[in-house]
Amino acid sequence: MNRARTYVTIALMVGALGAALSAQKVQITGAGATFPFPIYSKWFSEYNKKNPNVEINYQSLGSGAGIRQLSSQTVFFGATDGPMTDEQLQSAPGRILHFPTVLGGVVPIYNIPGLNTELKFTGPVLANIFLGAITKWNDPQIAKINPGVNLPATDITVVHRAESSGTTYIFVDYLAKVSPEWKKKIGVATSVNWPAGTVGGKGNEGVSGLVSQTPGAIGYVELIYAIQNKISYGSVQNMNGKFVKASTDTVTAAAAAAAKQMPADFRVSITNAPGDNAYPISSFTWLLFYETPKDKGQAKVMVEFLKWALTEGQKFAPDLGYAPLPKDVVDLEMKAIPKIKLG
């Protein structure tokens, strides 16, 4: 009996100590997209080194979950790869603001044994492959844009994301812009009704895993996964007709063009962007804040963090495979930050 009482006392003390310690720090919770998790965790860590009493805790639940948690006010900020729709904004209890933080690119990965040249893709060709209209690698449509390449007669196995994801959203957003048939038949969402005979992989890792193991497979993943897993990815033809391979430079170039027509709320799609060097399947990723947050203390801290992330934080991006924001966009955002009411 005595032993049990000792244990209970110790447990209570530990719990109380934990509560007391955390009372002196500012602890902020955020949730959302999985894509920016690595760069955000780098940022929060670096920021915590400079400001040890600021503990920002971010978990990747997915863009949609982040939006829902933000609307339910179980977290202070959200993060999303696809901007909130008008309906989602309407159903939130307060006005929500979008702030782009970094850029990412989605690349078409493929596995053709024996092929050592890089493949070129155009938007319509990609759409036709994923629609199931092109079924073999040596199809004339692919051969036409890859002259001189020895394409085998292997069947194409299409791999897509099993679960809803921002990556899918970016990819199908692009396909809908370049293929009217895609737009009509399939549409744009974080999860779509893929044609029969395709396979769903779980997560970017799942898709790259499946593609790397299935000869003749094609899939789409965030750039960093193709690089880290050393899978071949093709270049894609952009609006200006140039075949561009994804890299932090070409993705940033896609955003630079968008800066000129940036809407005030920063909700913009930059797929199929103009510019010779622009990679066509690029996208912003956003942090979401309430215009009038309830907790002013946390709001002050997050505003300072945001300013740091948009300026100092950008230098950490390329090493981790993210494209930094172009300067014009950062300037626009710094001007918009005061919209978050701190008073």
């Binding site: 719990g15 805790n57 990747s60 890792e205």
Partner: protein, 283 residues
């Protein structure tokens, strides 16, 4: 004579089959363990057990907070599930044949088939949403709900197999019903009940989905049960879906630590039960 040969032959065949099943089950186990160990042991160092998670590319990242967090959340879940599971099992066994006990059994079997994510969302609805924040307690609730059916059904099935003579003997000696069951019948079935509890623990130890929406995760060390807390499974999952080799290795190390902790618990619990049995028998 022929019949005898056939019967004996059949008996031998079954013995061989059951031995073969053991070997058959050991093959994937060995393969999986080999897989986890070879991938994870490389990232197991002192830092792993001492430090908090570090961003990609920085050395010395660890899962100290996740290890402690997992112990806390699993402990909370067990605190919730063991009393409910065992006592509900006692009711179902002792009052077998009544409609209420059938209903309880039915409810437990149904609950067992509910996917972990549904339970997570349920726990989210009652323990997170009303309070507007994630917490270790909510995670414990979700895990506890998942543990209950296994504990309850195992307790019930094993209590049913305790001979009635034991019950009657205790009652004949003047014990109250509660005393008879809890001091005589239950201890007789204890090793089996412990198996049920360990199975339930193993079941929830590897679960991610119910925790993501309840205990969330925490980059920092925390023992505050009313706040988000880090757990090994969520941390492993978070790392496993990224692209970085460094984080993958840590994820495997985390999985290895998890399997080791669960096995250790299993061994310790069995040892403790054996000791209790010996004391109980008066040896």
């Amino acid at each position: 004579m022929m019949r005898d040969r056939w019967r004996r032959g059949l008996s031998h065949a079954v013995l061989i089959f059951s031995g073969a099943s053991v070997v058959l089950a050991l093959i994937p186990l060995a393969l999986i363990l080999f897989y986890v160990i070879t991938r994870g042991v490389g990232a197991l160092n002192l830092d792993f057990f001492r430090n908090m998670p570090a961003p990609v590319g920085e050395r010395g990242g660890g899962m100290a907070n996740a290890i402690v967090g997992s112990l806390i959340v699993t402990g909370l879940g067990s605190l919730f599930a063991i009393p409910i599971g065992v006592i509900a099992g006692v009711y179902a066994a002792e009052y077998r044949g009544t409609r209420f006990s059938s209903a309880t059994r039915f409810a437990a079997d149904t609950l067992n088939g509910v996917p972990s994510i549904v339970i997570g969302v349920f726990a989210y609805g009652i323990a997170v949403l009303p309070f507007k924040h994630f917490s270790a307690l909510a995670g414990g609730l979700a895990l506890g709900i998942m543990m209950i059916p296994l504990i309850m059904r195992t307790t019930e099935e094993l209590l049913l197999l305790v001979p009635n003579t034991l019950r009657e003997g205790a009652l004949a000696l003047g014990a109250t019903r509660a005393r008879a069951v809890f001091t005589v019948v239950l201890p007789a079935a204890l090793p089996g009940i412990v198996t049920g509890i360990l199975l339930a623990l193993a079941r929830i130890a590897g679960e991610t989905a119910p925790l993501i929406f309840t205990s969330f995760n925490n980059r920092y060390f925390s023992t505050n049960v009313t706040q988000p807390i880090s757990t090994l499974t969520v941390q492993v999952f978070t790392y496993a879906i990224t692209a970085y080799e460094d984080w993958h290795r840590q994820a495997w190390a985390g999985a290895l630590v998890l399997v080791t902790i669960v096995s250790l618990c299993s061994v310790l619990a069995r040892m403790a039960t054996a000791r209790m049995e010996r004391l109980h028998r008066g040896a």
